[in-house]
């Protein structure tokens, strides 16, 4: 099985530890992981701004970097969501269609493809709030949402619950958006920041020490808000916890 590792631009630049944890975790699970050195971005920020003409060359580069692989795995839900559901600025050749269908966010790859249910090396004895970003939640459908009645399920929670010591605490608004929203975070700064403040206060109120997430963009935004508010919250990507990070 040939696995391509996609480390999105902002993770590459600002959160290399998330990339390292993702790579180490996949290798620990016995996979040969290929990291194309010329990768940049999937085109999401441009396409989400409506700029499909500008997104096209970026998507083309993405497709070239990751062709001829069985799976592409990324530790960023919104990027996986873009590739799967919105990477349409370039010609939809059979190769592109296959690439899109075989691109996975890390948690769903572990849960659905590898079917991993144990992380014996991992231990995280902390109260954690789990934040699943909206593209991961409602876009990729990795968990049931509060709007739809019925049986509850959550792939990220199933994985996290397999880690020794983890105690999950729930905020009052379990799956309200935290307000990152890509360029929204800048162009709609007043609302974006307010949403982020409300979100981290909610997690803090629930007693969380850590916020764990499969979505580094939400993490970057919430961490920025919590630090400015001087809340005693720590942030960590789910790949790091599953890979055995202690704190």
């Amino acid at each position: 099985m040939k696995i391509g590792l996609f480390i999105p631009c902002y993770v590459d630049a600002f959160f290399p530890e998330i990339g390292v944890a993702t790579l180490e975790l996949l290798e620990r699970l016995g996979l040969a992981v290929h990291y194309p050195l010329d990768q940049t971005c999937c085109g999401q920020p441009l396409a989400n701004s409506g700029c499909h003409a500008d997104a096209a060359p970026v998507e083309r580069l993405f497709a070239r970097n990751f062709r001829k692989l069985d799976y592409v795995v990324t530790p960023s839900g919104s990027c996986a969501h873009h590739v799967r559901q919105h990477l349409t600025a370039i010609e939809q050749t059979p190769e592109v269609a296959k690439l899109r269908a075989s691109t996975f966010e890390l948690c769903e790859f572990l849960h659905d493809v590898l079917r991993v249910s144990e992380f014996p090396w991992a231990k995280f004895p902390h109260k954690v709030g789990l934040h699943i970003g909206c593209a991961t939640l409602r876009g990729l459908g990795e968990a049931s949402t509060s709007e739809i009645a019925g049986a509850r399920h959550s792939k990220p929670l199933a994985l996290l619950s397999a880690v020794k010591g983890v105690q999950v605490v729930k905020p009052a608004r379990v799956d309200e958006c935290c307000g990152f929203g890509g360029t929204f975070s800048v162009t709609e700064e007043p609302v974006s920041a307010r949403m982020g403040q409300d979100k981290v206060r909610d997690h803090h109120g629930a007693g969380a020490e850590y916020i764990v997430t499969p979505d580094p963009s939400c993490l970057m935004h919430q961490k920025g808000c919590a630090e400015r508010l001087a809340l005693p919250l720590k942030f960590i990507h789910i790949a790091q916890v599953l890979n055995g990070a202690r704190a």
Partner: protein
């Protein structure tokens, strides 16, 4: 025409701390009540699917159903008028009032008449208009448009209403308890029902099979408006049609549960024929709806039953207030409808969204709201309606991200900037990110650099 600046308007809304907190909590409370009602009905999701398919069927046979409605309404003794646009609608209403010698009009809530800007049109022609819905009346007296399609004055606190009423209908400004305020409005409004030469309602549904229409309300004001004067005018958007009376149950079960989290509205009135000695005039209004029906990717917005569930759940709407959208329709449904009225003016609205998708998940008729928001962004960019700064930024970003070499230089520059620049340079007024958030700390190396060293 000037672009509505949603971000700027929302910063003013957020600055009023008590208001934004109340607004967010009050609407979130409605969302939670909606969840409880939905959970109590095992077939809720099936109802949504059914409601969606009934609406899609109706919209794809709209001409036939409209004609069927007209035939049956006329057979019932009602009179039917067709209005191509807002101007025609207003003119028809004015002519009806004039020919009946009516100078006072009592009316219940109608987003359509707001959309047509009917009130100012009639007022300049000497018609006195009394909004009889409490929230609408508050907004009318305060000379503001409704901020929410179901709860029009939800952005106001009790104290704000006390101020408005003391200024306009002479209540005691120091008294802001709800029963006092509501009773004062009621007492003030009652005489107008008797004075009015005409009453006006909208409609939630128009049934083709029976030629009747249905008005769902909670205050009883619509029934007084419709039944006390001798002339009842009902303005109805052409998308309100449903084929059969049997279909109505699907929608009535969902409307108030989605809107307010209550099982049903207090009053569900069916209007079929005028009482002896009175007249009912139905004005069927297009005002851009036919054009919208022809828009690939956007026509499903016409399924909307105006419950406001998308607004109640929208985290952006709850924290920016309906008035920040600068349009008749606000919140998620507004964001996808408003650009059809004026693309340039409303071109910022589809960007007032995080694309979180909660709106789509609560919509009782399954409108793909957040997908349409996404599509509008593309239309706006293609038609050159993005702000110049954003257009340039995206063009540059596209160039950098399409070139591995330029990208790597940019990563280095960003890290160096964060590492070496003094705090005062990073947190400057141009850095919108840093106004209320810390920027991430620069790592020693990028992932790529780490990878090259370790693998």
């Amino acid at each position: 025409m000037k672009r509505v600046d949603h971000a700027e308007a929302s910063s003013r809304f957020i600055a009023a701390r008590e208001h934004v907190e109340f607004h967010d909590k009050r609407l979130w409370d409605l969302r939670q009540k909606r969840d409880r009602e939905a959970e109590a009905i095992p077939e809720w999701e099936e109802l949504r699917t059914l409601a969606s398919s009934i609406k899609e069927h109706t919209l794809s046979h709209l001409g036939d159903y409209l004609e069927q409605f007209e035939r049956n309404a006329i057979a019932n003794g009602m009179q039917v008028h067709w209005a191509l646009d807002a101007a025609e609608h207003n003119q028809i209403v004015y002519q009806l009032l004039r020919s009946h010698g009516a100078t006072v009009l009592v009316k219940s809530k109608s987003m359509l008449t707001d959309e047509c800007e009917m009130r100012p049109f009639l007022e300049t022609r000497g018609i006195q208009i009394i909004e009889t819905d409490l929230g609408e009346r508050i907004q009318q007296l305060d000379d503001e448009p409704p901020s929410h399609i179901v709860v029009p004055a939800v952005h106001k606190l009790r104290g704000d209403v006390a101020q408005v009423f003391s200024r306009t209908i002479g209540t005691d400004a120091r008294k802001s308890d709800v029963p006092y305020l509501a009773e004062s409005q009621r007492q003030h409004t009652r005489p107008y029902y008797l004075k009015a030469g005409a009453g006006m309602t909208g409609a939630n549904f128009a049934v083709a099979e029976t030629g009747s229409f249905v008005v769902c309300t909670n205050e009883g004001n619509a029934d007084l408006s419709a039944n006390l004067p001798k002339l009842h005018i009902a303005s109805i958007g052409i998308e309100k049609l449903i084929p059969r009376l049997a279909d109505l149950g699907v929608f009535v079960r969902m409307l108030s549960r989605s809107a307010l989290g209550s099982p049903i509205t207090q009053i569900t009135s069916h209007f079929r024929a005028p009482r002896p000695g009175t007249e009912i005039h139905v004005v069927l209004v297009d005002n851009g709806r036919s054009e919208r029906l022809g828009m690939d990717g956007f026509w499903r917005s016409l399924k909307c039953i105006r419950c406001g569930a998308c607004m109640n759940t929208c985290p952006v709407y709850r924290r920016s207030g309906g008035l920040s959208y600068g349009a008749t329709y606000s919140g998620p449904i507004g964001v996808i409808i408003d650009p059809t009225f004026n693309l340039r003016k409303y071109s910022a609205l589809p960007f007032a969204s995080t694309l979180n998708g909660s709106c789509t998940a609560v919509c009782p008729v399954k409108i793909d709201i957040h997908d349409q928001i996404y599509r509008w962004r593309q239309v706006i960019a293609e038609r050159g309606q993005l702000p110049m700064v954003k257009q340039e930024a995206m063009r540059m970003a596209g160039k950098v991200l399409a070139s591995p070499k330029l990208y790597r230089l940019a990563v280095k520059a960003a890290q160096a900037g964060l590492d070496h620049l003094p705090r005062s340079m990073i947190y400057n007024p141009l850095n919108a990110w840093g106004r209320q958030r810390e920027v991430p700390k620069a790592p020693k190396q990028s992932f790529r650099e780490w990878y090259l060293k370790h693998r």
